[in-house]
Amino acid sequence: MKSRGAGWWFAAPALCVIAVFFVLPVLAALAMSLTDFDIYALADLSTLRIVGLRNYAELLRRPLFWQALGNTLYFVAVGVPLSLAVSLVAALLLNSRLARLQPFFRTALFAPVVTTVVAVAVIWRYLLGTRYGVLNYALGALGIPEIDWLGDPRFAMPAIILFAVWKNFGYNMIILLAGLQKIPDDLYEAARIDGASAFAQFRFVTLPMLTPILTIVGILTVAGYFQLFAEPYVMTQGGPLQSTVSVLYFMYEEGFKWWNLGNASAVAFLLFLLIFAVTLVQMRVARRAPGWQ
């Protein structure tokens, strides 16, 4: 009886913070996306007009928005599978009985995750440089001609993808490693007795047992990669030829450079709907895969 009142007192401070600084703004974003909130409204609210879905309609007519959407989808579609593949390979290697120095390797491979995006983006911008960049030097040693990674519209997004994979793969690696360690040894034992090869063991034991975790990791990574912002901000400023403008970069410029806050809210909401839709699709696909209990 006594704890009934206390429960509220313990939960209320955090719930108030979340309500005021998260729930309220999210709802307000939806409302704002239906208005022409701009720099004039910022100074004088009486100039604000409700415009219905006009912001959305106009966004869908703007080539730069479509370009930003296309760039972001490119980043997600290539970056996420690549990222997950590297994470999975690294986790399998770390989990291997043959691996030595596991604690060292685990920490080393995880280190990029805890670093500051902005700072490592600055490093990578330098590594990817045309004349004195180390990557071009290494590729040159292999006979590959100089690539203008961040100055060529064909290579800027691939460069950012490489950077993102390097920065992020350690995170999923740790989660997948935890999942691998939970797979009972008997299953492998039984598979070996049946004469299953290493690949067959991976295909018919490891992968099905890992499906639930892979699903979660996939959903979280897709949601995270849709939020691309700091990398192009530091490395390319959206260029060259707007080939690395992401949806959030577009939202930032629209909202906080040009102060078209109604428009920016509409962009944010479209991004949310997109992430939500992709998440639902992923969950559907995962439910059909073997191994989902």
């Binding site: 704890s3 009934r4 009142g5 429960g7 313990f10 939960a11 401070p13 955090a14 719930l15 913070v17 979340i18 600084f21 998260f22 703004p25 999210v26 307000a28 974003a29 290697l93 043959l98 120095l101 390797f105 080393a108 491979l109 995880f110 280190a111 990029p112 805890v114 670093t115 500051t116 995006v117 902005v118 700072a119 490592v120 600055v122 490093i123 004195y132 030097y137 390097w166 350690g170 740790i174 989660i175 935890a178 999942g179 975790i213 979660i216 979280l220 949601a223 939020q227 912002f229 700091a230 901000y233 400023q237 930032y252 909202g255 806050l261 944010a268 909401f269 991004l271 992430i275 939500f276």
Partner: protein, 272 residues
């Protein structure tokens, strides 16, 4: 046992470790090179004449000490506040009964899929009304409580035996006293985990501080570094020193407390 397999596994691990660490070691090395010394072909691995000049320049002329202090203040304050808010709430959702508890918890889990950026524009206007735009408060306030933090603490607090709390209640201890004397000591590992998460998260955060801080004097390190890197495109050595100053503190915190960090990732990530 097959030797070649062991060589392949360890060789691949070593290769991955080199790829993961090389950019960081390279940054450290170049940060000790004299201005212009890194712009040579072929690239040099180590500085010819190591110098602290870049760091001196950063502190004396660029005023990086100020940004360092800003980052530290914001990260520590946000961490302290978020510990209070998230730990009390996480405990309440796990062990105390109150009206609507389970419904609110389900709603919060659902809200996890909403990206924080959706809230940014109205949040900016709200903080403007409160006079918090362009202040430390503007960076700290939205980081004070997080659904993820509450969730993390709740999962851990579920394992506290009810008998223990009941016994303390029978002894006449108040709920706050039970929380402080019984619950918090039991939650210590997850509290450390949450502290590391929040500290690194707020230190590394970029987009929100970029939006809410307009005065250079208040910039956090990542915001200042992003600005500097746009001005000093050619000054690689200086920028590498700036990156070292930004990354080193979080890397040290991580190395010292990595046990907690990785444990938190494994519980939060797998169950989440």
């Amino acid at each position: 046992m097959p030797r070649p397999a062991a060589i392949v596994v360890n060789g691949l691990l070593a290769g991955l470790a080199v790829v993961a660490l090389f950019p960081l070691l390279w940054m450290l090395s170049v940060s000790f090179m004299a201005p212009g010394a890194s712009s040579v072909y072929p690239p040099q691995l180590l500085p010819h004449e190591p110098t602290l000049g870049n760091y001196r320049e950063l502190f004396a002329r660029v005023g990086v000490g100020r940004y360092l202090a800003n980052s530290l203040l914001v990260a520590v304050a946000a961490t302290a506040l978020s510990l209070f808010f998230n730990v009390t709430a996480g405990y309440a959702f796990a062990k105390l009964r109150f009206a609507g508890r389970d419904r609110i918890f389900r709603l919060m889990l659902g809200a996890l899929v909403i990206p924080g950026q959706v809230a940014m524009v109205p949040l900016f206007l709200l903080l403007k009304q409160l006079g918090l735009v362009n202040s430390y408060g503007g960076v700290i306030v939205p980081a004070m409580a997080s659904i993820f933090g509450i969730f993390l603490v709740r999962q851990y607090a579920l394992s506290i035996p009810d008998d223990l709390l009941e016994a303390a209640r029978i002894d006449g201890a108040s709920e706050w006293r039970i929380f402080a004397m019984v619950v918090v000591p039991l939650l210590k590992p997850i509290v450390v985990t949450l502290a590391v998460f929040t500290l690194l998260g707020t230190w590394n955060d970029f987009m929100w501080p970029l939006i809410v801080l307009t005065d250079k004097e208040l910039y956090t390190l990542p915001v200042a570094l992003a600005g500097l890197s746009r001005e000093h495109v050619q000054d690689n050595e200086l920028m590498m020193a700036g990156s070292v100053l930004t990354i080193l503190p979080v890397l040290v915190v991580f190395l010292v407390l990595q046990r907690y960090y990785i444990q938190g990732l494994m519980t939060g990530g797998v169950k989440g």
